[in-house]
C-alpha cells in the first residue's frame, strides 16, 4: 500500500511516514509512533477475528438447547478463548495502542512519544503475550473462563491455564509500558501553549486511561503470578484445603478487572468527543465537566470492584458500600451522555459514517450504563449475577460502546492515517448494520437473563431457546457488519479519493499536518493559543453551513 502513496505525492514535499521504509524489517524495527500504531492495529484486528470466530461457533451451538455440535469441554474452551482474546488482546489495547499511539503526539504537537524504543518494546511484549496465548489454544485450550476463578483454575482445571495466564501476564506489561509512555508524553512533550485545559478530550481520556493502566495492571500480574505459583509449584495461596482463601483471588482479580472496564471505555469516550464536536460543528458542551468526569470515573472506578462479589460470600455491609460507590461512579458517566447530547444543540450536524458510529455508541452506552444501575442494586444483582443479564450489560458497554467507538475512530482518522478517503455509503451501511445487529443480539439476553438463564451454559432449558435463536441471528448480522470494513477499507487504499490535510474541517492539531503525516509529524512545532473545538466563537453556536470558519489549535495555520 505504501507504493501507491509514494507515487502520488509531489517530490518536493517531505516524505510521509509510510515512505520511510518499505521492507518488513523497516516496520519491525521502527520507533515511529505512527508505524507502531499500525503494527498494533494489524495485530488486534487478527485477534478481533479470532475472538469473533470463537463466539461465532458458540452462538451457532446455542441455537439448540441440547449441545448438538460441541462437547461440554469444547464449549467451555471456546467461550474462554473468546473472553481472554477479546478482553486482553482486543479491547484493552484497542483504542490506546492504535489511535493513542498514532494520535497522542500529533494532538499535543509533539514529534514522538516520550520513549519511542519502549513503545516498540511494548508491541513486542504484546506479541510475546499473544504467542503464549495462541500456544495455549493450539495445545488444547483453557476452560476456566476469562476470570480464572480459584480453586478451579489452580487445582481442578485440566487445561493449559499456565500458558494462558503467562500470555495475559506478559501482555499486561505491554499495557504498563504504554501507560508510562503516554503519561510522560502528555506531561513533557506538549507544544508551546498547549496547556492542560487546551488538551482535546481524546488526550485527557488517554491520559486517564494510562494512569488506570499503570496502577491496576500490576495487580493483575500479581494475581496471575500467584495462580501460576499455586498451579505449578503447589504454593498454597488460594487453596482452602491448605488454609488459602479462594475469595482473595476474586478481590485481586476484580481490583484490576473493574478498572479494566474503564481502560476499555474511557478512550472510547475520548474518540466520540472528537467526533460529536466535529460533525456538529460545535464546541463541546461543558469541556471542564467532561474532563472532571473522566478523572472522576478513573478514581472512583478503583473503589467499586466488590460489586462483582455480591453473592461471593462477602459481608453484606461491604455489599452496601460497594453498591453505593457503584451508583456514584454512574454519575459522571451520565453527565458525559448529557453533555454529548447537548453538544448537538444548535449545531450544523452531518451524518457521515464516523458520526453514525458515534451516535450508535451514544445509544448503546446509554442502555449499557442504565442497566449498570440494576447491577449496582444489591437485591437485583443477587438475582442476575452470572446470568445473561450481566452478559448483555457488559457487551453493551464494551462492544456497543468501545467497539463502536473504535470503528468511529477508524473511519474518522482513516484519511489522516492513509491519505485516502473510505467509501462513504458502504461505511454508512456497516455503521447502521452494526447497530441493528447489536440490538438483535443482546436485547434478548437481558430478557432471558432476568428470567434466570445462567451464563456459560452449554446445554440449557428449552424455554430459553427462542431468545438464543434471536440472539444468534443478531450475531450473524453483526458479523457481516464487522467483516464488511475488512473489504472496503483496504479497497480504499487503492481506489479511495486522496485527501488534503483536513478533510473534515476539524480543529485538532493532527489535522494541520499533511495526510499521511511526515515522519516527524510537523514541519515546524506548532504554537497553540486557543482551546480545542473552536468551531465557532465562544458564546455563539454553529452559524454557518460550511466546514469553515473554524479555528485550528495553532497560530500559524
Amino acid at each position: 500500500m505504501t507504493d501507491i502513496l509514494l507515487d502520488s505525492l509531489p517530490p518536493a514535499k517531505p516524505a510521509n511516514y509510510l515512505e520511510e521504509g518499505h521492507t518488513l524489517a523497516s516496520w519491525l524495527t521502527t520507533t515511529d509512533h505512527k508505524r507502531i500504531g499500525i503494527l498494533y492495529a494489524l495485530s488486534i484486528t487478527a485477534f478481533f477475528f479470532i475472538g469473533g470466530i470463537a463466539i461465532g461457533i458458540v452462538r451457532l451451538e446455542l441455537i439448540t438447547p441440547h449441545g448438538a455440535l460441541l462437547s461440554d469441554d469444547q464449549y467451555n474452551r471456546l467461550f474462554t478463548l473468546h473472553g481472554i482474546v477479546m478482553v486482553w488482546f482486543f479491547l484493552v489495547p484497542s483504542i490506546p495502542t492504535t489511535f493513542g499511539n498514532f494520535l497522542l503526539p500529533l494532538m499535543i504537537g509533539a514529534r514522538e512519544v516520550a520513549f519511542p524504543r519502549l513503545n516498540l518494546f511494548s508491541w513486542y511484549l504484546f506479541v510475546a503475550g499473544a504467542v503464549f496465548t495462541v500456544y495455549s489454544v493450539i495445545a488444547g485450550g483453557v476452560d476456566t473462563g476469562w476470570t480464572f476463578y480459584t480453586p478451579f483454575s489452580t487445582l481442578f482445571s485440566n487445561s493449559h491455564v499456565i500458558a494462558a495466564a503467562a500470555g495475559v501476564f506478559v501482555a499486561g506489561f505491554s499495557s504498563i509500558a504504554t501507560g508510562v509512555n503516554f503519561i510522560t508524553t502528555t506531561h513533557m512533550l506538549r507544544a508551546p501553549g498547549m496547556t492542560w485545559f487546551r488538551l482535546p478530550l481524546m488526550v485527557w481520556a488517554l491520559y486517564t486511561t494510562s494512569i488506570v493502566m499503570v496502577l491496576a495492571t500490576p495487580v493483575l500480574a500479581m494475581s496471575l503470578l500467584l495462580i501460576m505459583a499455586e498451579r505449578f509449584l503447589g504454593v498454597p495461596i488460594f487453596n482452602p484445603n491448605n488454609g488459602g482463601d479462594p475469595l482473595l483471588f476474586q478481590h485481586l482479580f476484580w481490583f484490576y478487572s473493574h478498572p479494566a472496564v474503564y481502560i476499555m471505555v474511557l478512550p472510547a469516550m475520548g474518540v466520540v468527543s472528537e467526533i460529536f464536536t466535529c460533525f456538529a460543528r460545535r464546541r463541546v458542551f461543558g469541556y471542564s465537566a467532561m474532563v472532571y468526569a473522566l478523572l472522576g470515573i478513573g478514581v472512583v472506578g478503583f473503589l467499586v470492584w466488590g460489586h462483582h462479589m455480591f453473592v461471593a460470600g462477602q459481608s453484606p455491609y461491604a455489599n452496601l458500600v460497594f453498591s453505593f460507590l457503584s451508583f456514584m461512579v454512574a454519575v459522571p458517566s451520565a453527565i458525559k451522555v448529557f453533555n454529548w447530547t447537548a453538544t448537538l444543540y444548535r449545531g450544523q450536524i452531518s451524518f457521515e459514517a464516523p458520526m453514525l458510529y458515534a451516535m450508535s455508541f451514544l445509544g448503546l452506552f446509554t442502555i449499557g450504563g442504565l442497566t449498570g444501575l440494576f447491577l449496582a442494586s444489591v437485591p437485583i444483582d443477587i438475582h442476575v449475577t452470572d446470568t445473561y443479564f450481566v452478559v448483555a450489560h457488559f457487551h453493551f458497554i464494551m462492544v456497543g460502546g468501545t467497539v463502536s467507538a473504535y470503528f468511529a475512530g477508524l473511519h474518522f482518522w482513516w484519511p489522516k492515517i492513509t491519505g485516502r478517503m473510505y467509501h462513504e455509503s458502504w461505511a454508512r451501511f456497516s455503521a447502521v448494520t452494526t447497530f441493528v445487529g447489536f440490538m438483535v443480539t443482546f436485547m434478548p439476553q437481558f430478557i432471558m437473563g432476568y428470567a434466570g438463564m445462567p451464563r456459560r451454559y452449554h446445554v440449557y432449558p428449552e424455554v430459553f431457546q427462542i431468545y438464543h435463536v434471536i440472539s444468534s441471528a443478531g450475531a450473524l448480522i453483526l458479523s457481516v457488519a464487522y467483516l464488511f470494513p475488512l473489504f472496503y477499507l483496504p479497497w480504499s487504499l487503492r481506489h479511495g479519493d486522496r485527501v488534503g490535510k483536513n478533510p473534515w474541517g476539524a480543529t485538532g492539531l493532527e489535522w494541520t499536518t499533511p495526510s499521511p503525516p511526515p515522519k516527524d509529524n510537523f514541519p515546524r512545532i506548532p504554537r497553540v493559543d486557543v482551546e480545542p473545538y473552536a468551531y465557532h466563537p465562544v458564546g455563539q453556536s454553529a452559524d454557518t453551513e460550511g466546514r469553515e470558519p473554524h479555528r485550528p489549535q495553532r497560530e500559524d495555520a
Binding site: 453505593f324 456514584m328 454519575v331 448537538l344 438475582h383
Partner: protein, 314 residues
C-alpha cells in the same frame, strides 16, 4: 418445563425484587427515550443546512444546566441506592425458627440433607410459609446455588459455610441450578426445588425410609470418631466440655473471644491448632481428611442439639 418454573414469584422477596426491577426498567426507558428523543430532535432540527435559528447561545445554558443535571442524577441515584439497600437490610438475618437444610455441592451435583437425615440429590423439598435456611458448603470448587423463582443465589465455597434463607409463599416445583462456572458439566448441574404445603411436607418426610435424624447420627459419629473419649466430662484428658458449646462465647489462649458458631466448630475439628481455648493444651489431632462434609454436618447438628438441651440458645 415452563418459563414459570423460573419466573414465578415464589416468595414475597421475589415480588419485592420484581417491583424494584420494573421501576428501574420504567426509569431506564424514560431516560433512554428522553436522550434518544433529544438526539433525534437535534439531528433533524440542526442538520447541516437547515433553517433553524442558531445564533448566540443563551447565557444560562452552560453552567446552570450542567449543575442542574449533575445534582438531579446524583439525587436520583442516591434514592435508588437507598431503596435497593433498605429492601435488603431487613433480610440479612434469618428468623431463629428457620428450618435448617444442609447442601453439599460437588462437581456436578447437589447433595441435600433434610434435618431428620433424609437425603436428596439435585432436589430440595421445603414447606411453604415457613422460613428455610440453607447451610451450604462445597467439596471441590466454587459453585453457586441459584433459585430463580425466589430471586436469590449464593456462592457455595469449599471449606467455608455460606447461607441462604427464604420463605416460599407459593407451592409448586421450581428450577434450581448452578450459576458459578465449575467445570465440564457446569450447565448440567441443575435440579428442582419442591415447595409443598406444610402438611404435605410432613407427610413427604414421613414417607421417606426411616432415619434417626442428623443430630442422632451425629451423636453416633461423636462416639465412633473418638470425640467423646476426650470431651466427655469423665475423661482423664483435659479437653473442653462441649455440652452447650454452640452459640457460647469462648475465650482463647491468645486473648481473643469468639462465638462458637458453625465456622468456629468446623475449624476446631479440622484445624485444632488454630484457636486454642484458654486453659487447655493443644493436644487434639486434626480430623482433616477423616471427617467428610456429610459427617461434619451431622457432628455440627449434634453439637447444636446438645446446646439447645442445655438452654444456651435463647
Amino acid at each position: 418445563m415452563n418459563l414459570s418454573d423460573f419466573t414465578a414469584e415464589a416468595s414475597s422477596h421475589a415480588a419485592a425484587v420484581d417491583r424494584l426491577f420494573y421501576v428501574l426498567v420504567g426509569l431506564s426507558i424514560f431516560i433512554s427515550l428522553a436522550v434518544f428523543a433529544l438526539v433525534l430532535l437535534f439531528s433533524l432540527r440542526y442538520r447541516r443546512g437547515s433553517r433553524a435559528k442558531r445564533g448566540p447561545m443563551p447565557k444560562f445554558i452552560q453552567r446552570e444546566v450542567e449543575i442542574g443535571w449533575t445534582c438531579a442524577t446524583f439525587v436520583l441515584f442516591l434514592f435508588i441506592f437507598w431503596w435497593a439497600a433498605a429492601s435488603q437490610l431487613s433480610a440479612l438475618t434469618p428468623p431463629k425458627n428457620a428450618l435448617e437444610i444442609s447442601v453439599v455441592a460437588k462437581q456436578w451435583m447437589w447433595k441435600v440433607e433434610q434435618p431428620n437425615g433424609v437425603r436428596e440429590i439435585n432436589e430440595i423439598h421445603v414447606p411453604a410459609d415457613k422460613p428455610v435456611r440453607l447451610s451450604m458448603i462445597s467439596q471441590d470448587v466454587i459453585h453457586s446455588l441459584f433459585l430463580p423463582a425466589l430471586r436469590i443465589k449464593q456462592d457455595v465455597l469449599p471449606q467455608r459455610y455460606t447461607y441462604l434463607w427464604f420463605t416460599a409463599r407459593k407451592t409448586g416445583t421450581f428450577h434450581l441450578t448452578c450459576a458459578e462456572f465449575c467445570g465440564t458439566e457446569h450447565s448440567r448441574m441443575a435440579g428442582r426445588i419442591v415447595v409443598l404445603p406444610p402438611a404435605d411436607y410432613a407427610r413427604w418426610i414421613e414417607a421417606q425410609p426411616e432415619k434417626l435424624g442428623l443430630a442422632r447420627e451425629g451423636e453416633a459419629l461423636y462416639r465412633s470418631l473418638g470425640c467423646s473419649g476426650c470431651h466427655a466430662t469423665a475423661s482423664t484428658v483435659h479437653a473442653p466440655d462441649l455440652n452447650g458449646v454452640f452459640g457460647r462465647s469462648v475465650h482463647l489462649a491468645d486473648g481473643r473471644t469468639v462465638t462458637a458458631d458453625e465456622a468456629y466448630l468446623r475449624d476446631s475439628i479440622l484445624l485444632p491448632g488454630r484457636d486454642i481455648v484458654a486453659g487447655y493444651e493443644p493436644v487434639m489431632p486434626s480430623y482433616r481428611g477423616i471427617v467428610s462434609e456429610e459427617q461434619m454436618i451431622r457432628l455440627l447438628a449434634y453439637l447444636k442439639s446438645s446446646s439447645i438441651k442445655q438452654g444456651a440458645e435463647p
